[in-house]
Symmetry: C2
Subunit: 305 residues, 2 copies
């Protein structure tokens, strides 16, 4: 019998990442396409179908060898029905039955879920949260997403929308957030907000990697940028840890590349300000699977549901 | 065969409440003792054992007719081991194996848990959260306690300390809390803080029921007191609802007696500021079982574990 495979897809506002994955969740091949060129919904759906076809042809694999396609998507998803509610950062997607549409096109079973959920699933099964009964996995980027593993299972909430750590209010008053909330965490530490703050502080655009370098060389303004990120994130995590008494907090995503500039401050705040039992139990660690986590999580979900 | 019963106990800093409970969780008899007179741990443990003996004698029930004794306690408890970590508001209890000590004295199986957890269990099984897969049940009093029901089960966290809603930070800066945290919800809306605020505002002590009456008659200062409670509580609930996507938020405890003075504001904040999917799903309602919830929850836990 021919070897079986899975396909894991991670769709974001910038890229569509697709991987051919073994049943032991090793990535055999991957491709990255820009999603910016797909201006509307049906073009993007065609691009997903084409990417699936193309990765199969390139690897000389028959459709019948693929057990399932999993897709992580940047917004609230009804993972049971395979239904997209909407994408905050990609216009034109409202109430789309993506699973059904795509299964007709590619004739392989499709499962879809929120990208942060699938990343958390991957980190729990194969990465930094392995062995933790209760954990949260954060991705710090343009948005601040998160997925919760509670009692060894992905926790989705009553309408598949749990895990919106980016929309925890961290202040009574503060900036209005895109979501309609006030003083949400994301309105302080989303990639764009940090970039804007850097511009205000230094009078010019500086890439965040460079700001990290400057901070590591002792530049006070640059250190302050990261200290503030750690402060807001740390306080939100005090809330989460006091409420959920987790074993592990996994932090990944582009902004987390600042490493110790963020992690040291976050750990200090949680250890000093969370309640003693909760603070004593939790570890705060870096994500292990990097940018592959979404694709691996999608493959796990495609197979195991 | 003689009818079987359960005993449910709710121990607080002020009262010890004990109930004889049927297997269908109806209260057959109850007693309330003051705990203030029991200055130390061993006296309080004796008082619990005496209360159990006395409610049995009064109702002509044999020890062998009692399937179990459940006790709700005001602090973090290892509910599996039957172990008290400590009580924030009762001195002298640190690392006490209460289950074992008490079982030796009363020769009936004992189970202990955090009081807010047991109240939530009762409201979920028989009260306001009945039928909700995911809910939180708050008790607003001296402390702000809460218990979480997730996926139809009491969620306790990795060291039995989950549900500390009172220690969600609601501001980046603010009053230092007894727990070591900063700007915790409890530091704004704990009973004592509201009472202090009333004193500052009106220049004298006024019982909170009277402040409610004044607010209902249109007194602006009194209305502001409750509006502020609703604001802080509402913002903390936006955090919880965005993170956990709950169906039901149940609010009980003495401070919740202010009723619509709090509920209207809290509902408005959550409906306007939580994310649309989450806000559309959640109902915010008053607890149904009143001050019996703790005893009923303790009886449920004694029987079902």
């Amino acid at each position: 019998m021919a070897t079986k495979f899975l396909i894991g897809i991670d769709l974001g506002g910038t890229n569509l990442k697709i991987a051919l994955v073994s049943l032991s969740y090793q990535i055999k091949d991957k491709k990255i396409l820009s999603t910016k060129s797909f201006s509307d919904k049906s073009k993007l759906i065609c691009a997903i179908a084409d990417a699936v076809a193309s990765i199969l042809v390139d690897n000389k694999i028959a459709r019948s060898q693929v057990l399932g396609v999993g897709i992580g998507l940047p917004g609230p998803i009804d993972a049971e029905a395979g239904f997209v509610h909407f994408f905050p950062n990609i216009p034109g997607w409202k109430n789309v039955n993506l699973k059904t549409i795509l299964e007709k096109k590619i004739r392989i079973p499709v499962r879809i879920d929120n990208d942060a959920n699938l990343m958390s699933l991957a980190e729990y099964r194969l990465g930094a949260a392995k062995g933790s009964k209760n954990s949260i996995c954060l991705t710090l980027g343009t948005g601040v997403g998160a997925g919760l593993i509670l009692e060894n299972k992905l926790y989705r909430g009553s309408s598949f929308a749990a895990g919106e750590l980016g929309h925890l209010p961290v202040n009574i008053t503060g900036p209005k957030c895109n979501c309609g909330g006030i003083a949400c965490l994301e309105a302080y530490i989303g990639n764009n907000r940090i970039t804007q703050k850097v511009k205000n502080e230094f009078g010019r655009d500086i890439p965040l990697e460079k700001v990290s370098d400057m901070a590591n060389q002792g530049n006070k303004k640059a250190l302050k940028i990261w200290d503030d990120v750690a402060l807001y994130l740390g306080r939100a995590l005090v809330a989460v840890v006091n409420l959920l008494n987790l074993e592990t907090v996994v932090i990944g995503g582009g902004v987390a590349e600042a490493g110790d500039l963020i992690f040291k401050g976050v750990r200090k705040i949680v250890s000093e300000q969370a309640m003693s039992v909760q603070a004593g139990r939790v570890k705060i660690i870096k994500a292990k699977l990097g940018s592959d986590a979404g694709m691996i999580g999608a493959a796990i979900f495609a197979r195991e549901g």
